[in-house]
Amino acid sequence: MSREISAPVMSRETMLSTIKSALGTPREATAIPRNYRLETNQQNLTALLEERISDYRARVHITNDIQKTIEEILERLQIAKIAVPHDLPETWLPNSVEKIIDHPNLEPRELENAQAVITGSKLAIAETGTIVLDHSAHQGRRALTLIPDIHICVVFERDIVDNLPSAISRLYSSVAAGQPITFISGPSATSDIELSRVEGVHGPRVLEVVLVKLEPDL
Amino acid sequence: MKISLFITCLNDTLYPKTGIATVALLERLGCQISFPLEQTCCGQMHLNSGYQAETLELVRRFIEVFETEDAEYIVSPSGSCVAMVREYFTKVCEWAKDTALETRAKKLSERTLELSEFIVGILKLEDVGAYYPHRVTYHSSCHGLRTLALGNAPYTLLKNVRGLELMPLENAESCCGFGGTFAIKNPETSTAMLSDKMRCILNTKANTCTGGDNSCLMQINGGLSRMNTGVRTVHLAEILTQTEGGA
């Protein structure tokens, strides 16, 4: 049974009118009760974040010396070549490592040559052990934190919030500016085999978090 | 305390012993019981089978029979039937857009209680002076558990029965598979659910399985009896009514 495809405008009008008649006489929309916790009284957010991220089998290093910590991680994991966003502070990196500096025209394939990627972050959510990137300062585009198998992510203590409502309110301006947002809660995983969360598949299978206690010296 | 007994068509016809036990028990606990003979059925089966028009008439009739009863509460030894009155009477009226009946239904539902929630919640009694020297396990019927939120009431009553060894039932909150006409329309799935329930019951090594709903117990006993397990089912009322030296 063949059919003419309706012109796009017709479908739009048809759908809107069908929806309106389905709803019948307009009534006042349900009020939304927001009696959930907008913020918590959680005291030690740093400790909670460390605990929750570790639960996902990611490693957390609490430090006040970014460069030293990153150097240790690179050595332990035997990483010689890293990818970085173009605006990553020089002071974060040891001199010895080979860098691929990301730019919008860099082919994703090139990023495969990097063993690890190092970025900053926008904020972190302690309750759920989540790091959030808005892909602005020090974070690079989305492909950068996706293709290399190891992601080393710098999180500043001052950017840790307690729960999701706190996080979403802080992300509003990024979203309004059109930034994409990526929530990362542990390394890549799958629950598809017998419903148990196991080893990762496509995203970085190793996540190392550098949790910084001091104000950065930019 | 004056109460009116809502026996349920299932108990009236197939499990009169449960009704007799309920009467004896509540009288012993100081209640004055009336039984409106006009009552027949609350309409649960028809509702669950999709016969809404018939259900509405049965609901109307039920309300007429019970709303004029000179009683503080209407009590029933059946969680599912009380759930029908409390949860679905108003819905049935709402779907039929019968607002007058809906109001009457709401009023009636507010004083309709299941047996264990009446004893514990209204009479404020946890020990009814019962004696039942057997190993017993309790199946938590879905309507009582989720719709009526009976909570610990039945367990509390059972724990205080002298001589009774209460065995915890694994997956007590899992459905036994009765579900009214579900048991007949989907007998294979119903039986699969029953087989798991029976396995948990047999694992407790109890010789008796009790509960607040004879519909569930009919399903459970249906399997226990067919498989000659030697385990029987007894309604909670029939345990609570037993005293040392005679029922």
Partner: protein
């Protein structure tokens, strides 16, 4: 909707129940996830408040659907994306094919989307000479096995690791000694196979967990990273979204992102959630298309009671607690939407004309476990009961034994004298059937009971007879 198994639930379940491996796989998986869910939900003291908010947000969104869809369209367009409206599956498939062909692509990569399964997208694309490559591990398994999804979150739940290993050995020509059944090893196979596809295929197709009207932001919630791959590496991204997925404001995510992960994979948060707004220069696809899909959703919306089903956020918590689903599995529902939500959504989407659709609202013992766990408080038992009324209405023009029986019973119940007469008749009527106080065999419709269970015989005296005898007038 493709994969409509024309059999009734009862017939399909009967066959599924006889599969011991399936029973074991389902029992193991659902028991484990149930326990995990209880733990993570218990961590949140405001879980009930979140559910209340979630239910209200969804209700509010449905009530304002025309306004919100227009706002969404405007926001997406402002951010450089294109919006298409598809009244049904055919239209949606045509829109997608047209876009893919315009880019001369022969292959597309896909993120798991049950919505695309609902419209039969892969087959439609095949018809246009385009191969859709599933990148989600479970959907890949289903695709390789020429099978159908049986769960909305983990479509291959009906397969255990040994069965998946067998499948991979065959599909990828791997020697048995080179592959164990460890999940890590199985995942590695998928990673290697798909890596090249991610880096080269120019068009990706996704669904959407939600779309925010206020900002034009679309969100995908996932675990493996294949979502992020598909959403960022290709040149063109097409997202197909049921119209019911729209949310009013960005802040509504603070509720949904708490409800969804804890209800679905029973985690505090799933590994990756991606939010994007239109097209972003220098990062991600250069072209973004959002396809708004009806395909029967407006039918559901038109029913004041049934429309709650549209609130579903596809967490699958109801499937995981359902004792019926746990035993017969998802295929028995004959639809890409199985389990409790499937039982109320499928017949409303496709209509009540077929035996199959009519059987779905009855595929439940009404235990209520689903309602207890639904993060947006859909009263599934209520809708099941309500839809049973629709089924009976659908059948009312025709003679049927059940209808006659139930109408007679209602007539009996409407008069106490008729009722008491019927009780007496049952006492007499059972005489040939009752032995030793039980009935082990019943004819006709009731044989379903006695095939596996006994029934008590009808006692000589009904309760009311005892009352009359012992308590006099009431």
């Amino acid at each position: 909707m493709p994969f409509i198994n024309p059999t009734t639930y009862q017939k399909a379940a009967k066959i599924a129940l006889e599969n011991p491996q399936l029973r074991r796989n389902l029992g193991k998986a659902t028991t484990a996830i149930r326990e995990k869910r209880l733990k993570v939900v218990a961590e949140l003291p405001d879980w009930q408040a979140l559910r209340d908010a979630g239910a209200a947000i969804k209700e509010n969104a449905m009530q304002r659907l025309p306004e919100l869809l227009l706002q969404l369209e405007q926001s997406v367009q402002k951010a450089g994306g294109k919006v298409h409206w598809a009244t049904d599956a055919l239209e949606a498939n045509n829109i997608v094919s047209r876009i893919v062909k315009a880019h001369q692509a022969k292959e597309v990569i896909k993120i798991k989307s049950i919505t695309t399964d609902e419209i039969g997208l892969n087959d439609a694309l095949k018809g246009s000479g385009i191969t859709a490559i599933e990148t989600d591990l479970a959907e890949l398994i289903v695709q390789l096995a020429h099978d159908h999804p049986s769960h909305i979150l983990v479509p291959a739940i009906h397969k255990n690791r040994a069965e998946i290993r067998e499948l991979f050995l065959k599909s990828f020509n791997i020697k048995p000694e080179d592959l164990s059944d460890e999940p890590r090893a199985l995942a590695e196979v998928a990673r290697r196979y798909l890596r090249q596809k991610f880096l080269t295929v120019p068009v990706a197709i996704s669904g959407a967990n939600f779309a925010i009207a206020e900002t034009g932001t679309v969100g995908v919630v996932e675990s493996e990273g294949n979502g992020r791959m598909c959403l960022t590496l290709p040149k063109v991204l097409i997202s197909i979204m049921g119209i019911e997925k729209v949310l009013p404001e960005l802040r509504d995510l603070e509720v949904m992102l708490q409800l969804l992960p804890r209800s679905s994979t029973a985690e505090r948060m799933n590994p990756y959630t991606s939010l994007w707004t239109g097209v972003h220069m220098g990062d991600g696809p250069k072209e973004f298309h959002l396809v708004l899909l009806d395909n029967g959703r407006t039918k559901v919306l038109a029913d004041e009671v049934g429309r709650q089903a549209l609130h579903c956020i596809r967490c699958s918590a109801c499937l995981n607690v359902c004792p019926v689903y746990e035993r017969a599995g998802g295929h028995a529902y004959g639809s890409v939407y199985p389990g409790p939500i499937g039982a109320i959504l499928t017949p409303q989407l496709i209509g009540f004309e077929t035996d199959h659709a009519q059987s779905l609202p009855f595929a439940s013992s009404l235990c209520g476990a689903c309602y207890e766990v639904c993060p947006v408080k859909i009263n599934i038992p209520e809708i099941l009961v309500y839809l049973r009324g629709q089924v009976v209405e659908q059948k009312s023009g025709f003679f049927n034994l059940e209808g006659t029986a139930l109408k007679s019973m209602a007539w009996v119940f409407m008069d106490v004298k008729r009722y008491e007469l019927a009780q007496k008749a049952a006492r007499v009527g059972q005489l040939p059937l009752a032995k030793n106080n039980k009935i082990s065999s019943l004819p006709g419709l009731l044989a379903g009971w006695t095939n596996s269970r006994d029934l008590p015989s009808v006692p000589k005296q009904a309760f009311r007879d005892w009352w009359r005898e012992n308590k006099g007038k009431s």
